[in-house]
Subunit: 286 residues, 2 copies
């Protein structure tokens, strides 16, 4: 077992796509979490001023470096929690009572490694982004017991091409297919998620793919002022959902309050903590 | 008149949006071009290996720094050419015979300033991107004799919001409206252009806005191998045009050959050198 988060990540990177849903990947994710927690236990914590109502944030600090913002209510630095999580999701569907706990541990696995990278590397956004794809891609595949694809064939009269996609999961003939974009945060780039869903609807038929993006957070940190804000565009999301395509769920680890409110308007946009996926995956197509 | 390209750019930045189509902006663009040419006349030119059939590229070099790739057939370092250009576009519509010459000078204005930034600043992508928006935004506004907006009101039963957009030009009741996304290059982010067009079609009605994105180039330079490639996704463009929305034109300054071929398939996607806009602007709505 590796004591270096990056060495464990490198192992995951090399083997991940051989069998995305594998136990081996799940164990490696736990190792990365454990090694990241060990590293962060020696770092300092620095309070941030949260401008987000009801949420507290802090950052890890080492030397002159400051990590991204960490949600205090969600973050757990406790490797044994990963084992509890594995037991919880071993039940399919997992009990709805565990949803918030599941969200917290997945958030913590992602953010602990991100903070490790923030404190040890310079301007590396690619490693966190790829790691988050591995983490969520694996958990989705594990829950559906199905490995994803990232290309789909297009056969349209005289056109023969293949369409590169985010992770897609095809449960087989006459069953649901999932379209899983994975983003650390979205900002104005979120329109891509709806546009890709529109292409899938157009090429394969509306309703064939359930669009279920998973996003970590929408926080932005001002490192000079040590302030945290959330950048949200709920009115634009409603316009995209009405005019581009229909997403089935939008899952968050650190859910922004202004997006949670989209569940309460009509037509609703269903935004949920990602932990709920493990309970509701089987009933999403209904 | 400023001898420093960045000082002239700063002047433009401060006054640009007061009157986008103004002669004052056009004169400042010429000053930036002249100052950039003066700077580059003292830089070295370094040949690049072009892997793009039929195109030659070089880069400017100063000290350890290397600029982005410059298309040899398009680039002109001659400030008097800007005055010739102003005379050409003063005729509305400008003669079709001038289209290639117009494309070359606009390309040169953009790229000369970009190379100046590449050689004098560190990792600054924002200044070139904003400058390109100013350059194309001004020329579009000047040709249409109309200043752009970047927000549109949305009134949809119980919803009242405003939609942030790329530059849009509204010629008035019962006349065409233009949707002008401006990009230095697109890669996989290009789907945003179609998605924004889809939103405009959905909110205001299909066919109300003519989508006419303007893109500089799709080259990518490997600075170690000194090689230039073009990154193009023509099959995906066709799928977007069939399934997301219809763009009226896609204008390039340095047009990739594989996109030019999209004019020849059915249904065609009309990809042209930007110089043609000055001749065809009035007839685009027909």
């Amino acid at each position: 077992m590796s004591r270096d988060p990056l060495a464990a990540y490198e192992k995951l990177r090399q083997t991940f796509s051989q069998d995305v849903k594998s136990d081996a990947n799940q164990i490696l994710l736990g190792e990365i979490y454990e090694a990241s927690c060990r590293f962060l236990s020696k770092a300092k914590e620095r309070a941030l001023k949260s401008l987000v109502a009801g949420k507290e944030y802090f950052a890890f600090a080492a030397g002159k470096k400051l990590s991204r913002a960490v949600n205090k209510q969600l973050f757990i630095s406790n490797p044994s929690e990963w084992e509890a999580f594995r037991k919880a999701i071993a039940l399919k569907p997992s009990p709805e009572t565990d949803a918030e706990r599941i969200t917290r541990i997945i958030y913590s696995v992602a953010v602990s490694f991100f903070c490790y990278v923030d404190l040890t590397k310079e301007g590396d956004q690619k490693t966190p982004g790829t790691f988050f794809e591995y983490l969520i891609g694996h958990l989705f595949a594990w829950r559906l017991n199905m490995n994803p694809k990232t290309r789909l064939p297009v056969l349209n009269l005289d056109m023969e091409a293949s369409l590169p996609t985010d992770f897609v999961f095809d449960l087989g003939p006459n069953r649901a297919k999932f379209h899983l974009p994975i983003k650390v945060s979205t900002r104005e780039r979120v329109i891509q998620v709806w546009a890709h869903q529109r292409v899938l609807d157009g090429v394969y038929g509306t309703g064939r793919f359930l669009g279920t993006p998973v996003i970590l957070t929408e926080t932005k940190t001002d490192k000079k002022k040590l302030e945290v804000v959330e950048i949200c565009l709920p009115d634009q999301w409603r316009i995209y959902q009405m005019h581009i395509a229909q997403l089935k769920r939008i899952y968050y680890l650190d859910m922004p309050a202004s997006y949670a409110k989209l569940n309460e308007v009509f037509p609703p946009l269903s935004v949920k903590a990602f932990g709920h996926f493990f309970g509701e995956a089987d009933t999403l197509p209904i």
